[in-house]
Symmetry: C2
Subunit: 473 residues, 2 copies
């Protein structure tokens, strides 16, 4: 990777004009894709799932090939939070998948090759995904059959490919057991064919589309969240004229390395201390042995209908060719909310991060948004725990807070049934104390991007929310 | 942490004169400690272990309190290396322990409060350990009884304590199941009592003592290996007059951030790729179900006496008061060798690191020294695998390589019975290709120190070896 990577990413991030696909054209193109798409998803009883079965001994829901994923049970013991012990279903998919974006420099600007992708659980049928989403079976090509489009650019060492970003990132810790994906962005220097359902977008356009609900899928959001622009020396090469003050302030938080309230070493020390005292014991147990969870003809669900359920669906999907299959999906009990509270400290935006333990976490805790309550547990009085800072999210004005960003964004439609969460960024003022409870801390965007590079520091909810940063007016 | 931390560490590292304890006085003090110490370790049959027993159902060797550690079995399946499947005993001690050093600035120089510590498995009886070595039971004080000396400085938030380094670091992946310790260095600003068996040393003195065999224990080596001195701006504050060329070159590799052959992002990409393709499945199995391992009255060992064995010992240890107890220890079948090959690239020393999979690794692979064969598997022809680069270690002169460092250093004497490994740093010349096999890469010391800060990147063998860097003449 050369030193221009940050410069090229930033240039793409501030470019909205695109001769290949203006935003207006894109919206038409997307509507055409949706209109020409057959997308019929029916909830079916488990008995009608084909090639999926409940293992006799464990009750685990597995594919007969042993591939794809399985729904298993886990038992959790922890000293973190109010609930010290519970059991739950979890998705087990132990392979590292591939989320890859091809970019290409055209007339000095980096364009991202994005895919209009249909997934069974998608809200809006079609969402914009990375160039490549591949499972390990796909990319190691253990099974023959058609490899995914563009796979060859990611697998082989090629003269015409430069790697711009290549990180291992986590999935939802409350739903997946230690699942991780390889997030990768490459630059292709040779001519490349743009297949149907693919188009070139600048990073700026993608961020603009993140103002809309449920257009850019989770996989795209996690990949672009890892992009960093370097430091303030990058900025000197740009004459930024069209940025709003807020945009410029975000950029400073992204590039500044001097004015953070805590050093990177302070934050590592804070995480080390929390991990040393935290206990998280996760044992696999048979799905049929879960407490407080039950199974009927149509779903595996919590006795009080809380959290989420596992359902079966028949999917008929396609445009010219329609594929049909059945599979389990996870269905959330309620919409959730994820929000970053931000505050200017030493003149630089700091993000309020939360050290959060989730049962499927690879390394005990990850850094989550200031507020994250995926399943509607934030309603006060009804829940088993208080959600810190929730008032700033539910009633920002009353708390002198300013909403800088708000939209609904989807979870991955290949595993989750029409699940969306409210994504918010909220600025608080001088009256919001810089002193925080033990599990919370302040970080600049630049620091967050440093931690993202290394494995398993920022959880997927925080990365998803970070992906929207910059084009906020 | 303030910006002077690197400066203060470097100043201590280049300071050899110490009014409280010269190196000559230290050697006398250490000999006195050894002479006044009762250290009687006897191998005993398992039947004579008190409070340790083989669990009926599993055959696991456990303490009757359920505390301390246990010897269990694991089954490994992997696609890494030549051996794809095996079983082995492993030490299971799931808590995060504490390895802590107190420092204090006296007349502008940072002194380290080191402990002359007796451990049952120690070669030389007494070795120099951090101020504090504590288990979780110690530091959470679940059990009453005497807390370890100086614990209070590490546990409470205190006005007179600054944290200088605070990292989570791994233990031996081939021997421990995902074991990690909190490595921490603090600075105390108030007056502090120096108890018997403790003394003040500069970092430079500790490094000087690392020229000797088996004086500085493993726990000290891992803690000081995480120290970084900052960047070249630190150096400008020093007029280094007494350094040899080699020392100065090491310092440049430590401080330079511009001339590395690979960027940090390149290295992350290399690790990400390896982790994505690597498979490591580790399942706990009953110790009595291991293949190729057997148990007799005195030991659990491999059928061909390879690798290591687990033995029982009776320890009588102390100076004025003698404590006596029994416990299991791990005994290596042979001495091992760990070596870093280094080479000047772009005028800066680069270290040849190896991505190594070990069964107990927390995250699949960690970065190991260029050569690491703990159990004598390097004898060509006799072993199940070839050891890359072994010729440079066994016959450096024949290969135009220069030995810059060579000594024997011990594994932790609380778990390992008189285990020592040869530690070497070997410089190769122009004829050594910069192109490396897939699992190897070049890193500057500055880059290595960056990765050490984050969890589980550098394994304990590489950290041990890095701790010796600087005072090499």
């Amino acid at each position: 990777m050369n030193k221009d990577v940050g410069y090229n990413f930033l240039k793409s991030a501030i470019t909205l004009s695109n001769p290949y696909m203006s935003l207006d054209d894109f919206m038409k193109w997307l509507e055409e894709k949706k209109a020409s798409t057959h997308h019929n998803i029916q909830e079916i009883p488990f008995a009608e799932l084909e090639n999926w079965e409940f293992e006799r001994e464990t009750g685990n829901l597995v594919h007969s090939s042993g591939k794809f994923f399985s729904i298993e049970g886990i038992q959790i013991k922890t000293n973190w939070g109010n609930v010290k012990e519970w059991t739950q279903p979890i998705i087990n998919q132990p392979e590292i998948g591939f989320l890859g974006i091809i970019t290409k420099k055209i007339d000095g600007v980096l364009y991202f090759l994005m895919q209009a992708k249909i997934e069974p659980g998608n809200i809006n049928t079609v969402q914009i995904s990375p160039t490549l989403q591949a499972t390990k079976s796909n990319y190691t090509q253990v099974h023959k059959g058609n490899p995914p489009l563009y796979l060859e650019y990611f697998i082989e060492k090629r003269e015409d490919v430069n790697i711009l970003l290549d990180q291992l990132q986590s999935e939802q810790g409350a739903r997946f057991l230690r699942k991780r994906n390889r997030n990768i962005i490459i630059e292709v220097t040779s001519d490349i064919q743009v297949n149907e359902d693919f188009c070139w977008l600048t990073l700026g356009q993608i961020k603009e589309l993140l103002k809309l609900d449920n257009v850019i899928n989770m996989d795209t959001r996690t990949v672009i969240s890892g992009i960093s622009y370097g430091d303030l020396s990058t900025l000197k090469q740009f004459a930024l004229t069209n940025s709003s003050t807020v945009e410029y302030d975000f950029l400073i938080s992204e590039l500044d390395t001097k004015n953070a309230m805590n050093t990177v070493e302070d934050i590592i020390s804070w995480i080390t201390r929390l991990k040393a005292f935290a206990e998280l014991e996760v044992d696999k147990i048979p799905l049929k042995d879960l407490n407080e969870w039950t199974k009927d003809e149509f779903s595996i669900h919590h006795l009080q209908q809380k959290y989420f359920s596992v359902i079966g669906v028949r999917a008929e999907i396609g445009n010219r060719e329609v594929a049909s299959w059945t599979q389990p999906l996870v269905k959330s009990a309620q919409e959730g909310i994820i929000a970053f509270i931000i505050k200017k400290i030493n003149g630089v935006y700091h993000f309020l991060v939360q050290a959060k333990m989730e049962s499927g976490n690879f390394d005990i805790i990850e850094l989550a948004p200031s507020v994250q309550c995926l399943t509607g547990n934030y309603r006060k009085g009804l829940n088993e725990y208080e959600v810190e800072f929730i008032d700033y999210v539910l009633e920002p004005e009353k708390n002198k807070a300013k909403v800088l960003y708000s939209s609904f964004q989807s979870e991955e439609g290949g595993r989750f049934f029409e699940e969306q969460n409210k994504n918010m960024i909220i600025e608080v003022g001088d009256d919001f104390s810089v002193d925080l409870p033990e599990k919370y801390n302040w970080m600049t965007l630049n620091q967050i991007k440093t931690f993202i590079k290394f494995n398993n520091y920022l959880n997927i909810q925080s990365r998803s929310l970070l992906s929207v940063v910059r084009f906020i007016n």
